[in-house]
């Protein structure tokens, strides 16, 4: 249950404006990759092209290829909906569905698509997803309560459980801890470390220490100036990026001289 991603010559446009330029990157299966860079450098924009979520914004287009184990996400005839059921996403602010219970939130990916599964299978899926998100012990007695009644950190783990329940190949995370307190952040980072045994994880973060703690490989994005497109500057093992980067801009960023 995990695939590799190969991106070649990817350019992202908002109408006529080029937001991200010429990205080439290979992400290994069953690994955690971090995207870092200063605000506005296009790392979230690029992340969203990996599951075709950028198309939700009118006028956003893409040139280039994104291959999921060899299948191009952007081929003609590929439905974005299919892509998104294989590549899941966790967002910056926890967003459980307010009208649904915890149980229904976890099953949302299934229920909203009206796929029938027997109740016992559903219960198993809820338990395994919540265990996979390290949330089972805290909520197993109140699965029927609303999802919005949990704390911020718990809500985010609920969103992760919801994403896992669909059994994706890849999980994309867009600054998942930036709205959380330090204790919850730690819980989620532990979770990410476990998740890489089963999934390919890509995480965008503006917290460099987090990237250093959590990821196997790190990609540094930068932007030349406002109005210019963002670019991938350097991509390597995390240890190398932080201790021994090849490009000066990378070194400046990780040592805090800008950003």
């Amino acid at each position: 249950m995990s695939k590799r991603i190969d991106v070649s010559d990817l350019n992202v446009y908002y109408s006529k404006f080029r937001a991200v330029e010429d990205v080439n990157i290979q992400i290994d299966a069953k690994s955690v990759t971090a995207f870092i860079g200063p605000s506005g450098c296009g790392k979230s924009t690029f992340l969203r092209t990996l599951n075709r979520m950028h198309e939700v914004i009118p006028g956003a287009t893409v040139e280039g290829k994104v291959l999921l184990d060899g299948d191009n996400l952007y081929d003609a005839g590929v439905d974005p909906v299919t892509v998104r059921s294989q590549i899941g996403m966790v967002f910056q602010r926890p967003n459980p569905f307010p009208t649904m219970s915890i149980r229904d939130n976890v099953l949302a990916g299934v229920k909203l698509n009206s796929r029938r599964i027997p109740k016992s299978d559903a219960d198993d899926l809820v338990e395994s997803s919540l265990r996979g998100a390290n949330l089972w012990n805290e909520v197993k007695d109140r699965l029927d309560k609303p999802g919005s009644g949990l704390s911020g950190g718990q809500q985010q783990r609920l969103c992760i459980a919801r994403t896992i329940a669909v059994k994706p190949e890849v999980i994309l995370m867009d600054e998942p801890c930036s709205a959380l307190d330090p204790i919850s952040t730690l819980a989620i980072e532990d979770l990410i470390n476990e998740m890489k045994n089963d999934y390919t994880v890509v995480i965008v973060t503006h917290n460099m220490q987090q990237a250093a703690r959590v990821s196997d490989k790190t990609a540094f994005f930068n932007i030349a100036g406002t109005g210019k497109p963002g670019k991938l500057i350097e991509y390597d093992e995390t240890a190398t990026i932080f201790n021994n980067p090849s490009v000066k801009a990378t070194e400046d960023y990780v040592s805090g001289r800008f950003g």
Partner: protein
């Protein structure tokens, strides 16, 4: 270096220094001044009113004018012109509020006073079938309870309003969904939004004429049926439903939609299973308010459904009465021209019934909004 703190407890008892008037409060009116002016105004107003033959209205008018004049002058003299102007406008503003309350209280009181006597079970469950002027004349002569009721009007009101709700809600909600979910930024959306706003201003009688003209062209002139009235009311309801649904849909955070897309859910399922359930309480209360608005409409019904005296359950056949038209005709064309009191009583009772229905709907709208709002139980 001053010596300070320890004196109080150890020194001999001292009398406190003589109280000095706070300099910041110089030139202010004492607190009893304005009420005193008010009292004087009441007395003088009563006197002035009695001069020309006492009446409550003239008493209140004189008293109010005297109070405003007196209080403003007093304030100006003691505190200065700016404060005087400030007080003057304060009294005007309060006066405006009280003035606005007068018709409200008067209408509600009148409806209660004149309508309650007529609210009998007989009234609620009988129509005007067979009720002629002669019957009313007998009732007045013999002093027996008034006969005849508004049951047929209640039935008509409920049926016609139900039909127009069934027409308006799907169309209105779908249009609002288009505006918020599919049409952002498109020219068609801007056009629809502008004209929907304009449509909220269509006079109700014009909506009635439109429905009458439409059905007249299709089915022959003077087609008078309940369904025509329902179409007319729909023209009035749809803009309200669109606006309120649109507002409620816009409030749903975009993140919820994105979370649903990211799970691989299609757009239409996202809308029907995530967005609408989240917004449903606001939508339901908006629809209820739209119903409350049209249930009291008279003009469109007059020109489309005519008036009936007997119960008619068929919206597609013949004339139907509604509560508003029942009231209108009972007052304008009393059943018995020589004894108009029974007709008036029936009309006021129907008015009371109508107001109760409208108030219940308004209350219901607020309750719905609260009950169906997404909960955050712990």
């Amino acid at each position: 270096m001053t010596t300070t703190t320890t004196t109080r407890a150890t020194g001999p008892l001292r009398t406190p220094p003589p109280a000095r008037r706070n300099r910041l409060s110089k030139g202010r009116l004492p607190r009893w001044a304005i009420p005193a002016v008010g009292l004087a105004a009441l007395i003088l107003g009563a006197a002035a009113s009695t001069l020309g033959g006492f009446s409550i209205a003239s008493f209140l008018i004189y008293a109010a004018l005297l109070f405003v004049a007196g209080a403003t002058t007093t304030t100006t003299v003691v505190e200065g012109r700016r404060q005087g102007t400030n007080s003057f406008f304060k009294y005007l503003v309060v006066g405006a509020f009280l003035l606005a309350l007068i018709p409200l209280v008067s209408v509600l009181y009148t409806v209660l006073e004149r309508g309650l006597p007529g609210m009998t079970p007989h009234f609620l469950f009988h129509s005007m079938n067979g009720l002629t002027g002669a019957v009313d004349n007998e009732t007045v002569a013999a002093g027996t309870p008034v006969l005849g009721g508004a049951y047929h009007a209640v039935v008509g009101t409920l049926l016609i309003t139900l039909c127009s709700t069934v027409i308006s809600v799907p169309i209105g909600m779908l249009a609002a969904i288009y505006l918020v979910e599919y049409g952002q930024g498109k020219a068609l959306s801007r056009g629809i939004t502008f004209f929907v706003d304009v449509m909220t201003g269509i006079p109700s009688i014009v909506a009635g004429l439109f429905a009458a003209a439409l059905f007249g062209l299709l089915f022959g002139p003077s087609t008078r049926m309940g369904i025509v009235a329902a179409v007319a009311l729909s023209v009035l309801m749809i803009p309200t439903v669109v606006r309120s649904t649109e507002e409620m849909l816009k409030i749903v955070p975009n993140e919820l939609r994105e979370a649903s897309y990211a799970l691989g859910v299609r757009k239409w399922r996202t809308i029907t299973k995530v967005v609408i359930p989240t917004a449903i309480s606001g939508i339901a209360s908006g629809v209820t308010l739209a119903i409350a608005r049209v249930i009291g409409e008279t003009a469109p019904i007059l020109v489309t459904a005519g008036l009936a005296n007997s119960i008619n359950f068929n919206v597609f056949g013949n004339w139907m009465a509604t509560l508003p038209t029942f009231i209108y005709y009972q007052i304008l064309n009393p059943t018995s021209p020589t004894n108009i009191d029974p007709s008036a009583q029936r009309a006021w009772a129907a008015a009371l019934l109508l107001i109760v229905m409208v108030m219940l709907l308004n209350l219901g709208a607020r309750l719905i909004a609260r009950i169906f709002a997404p909960k955050t139980g712990r």
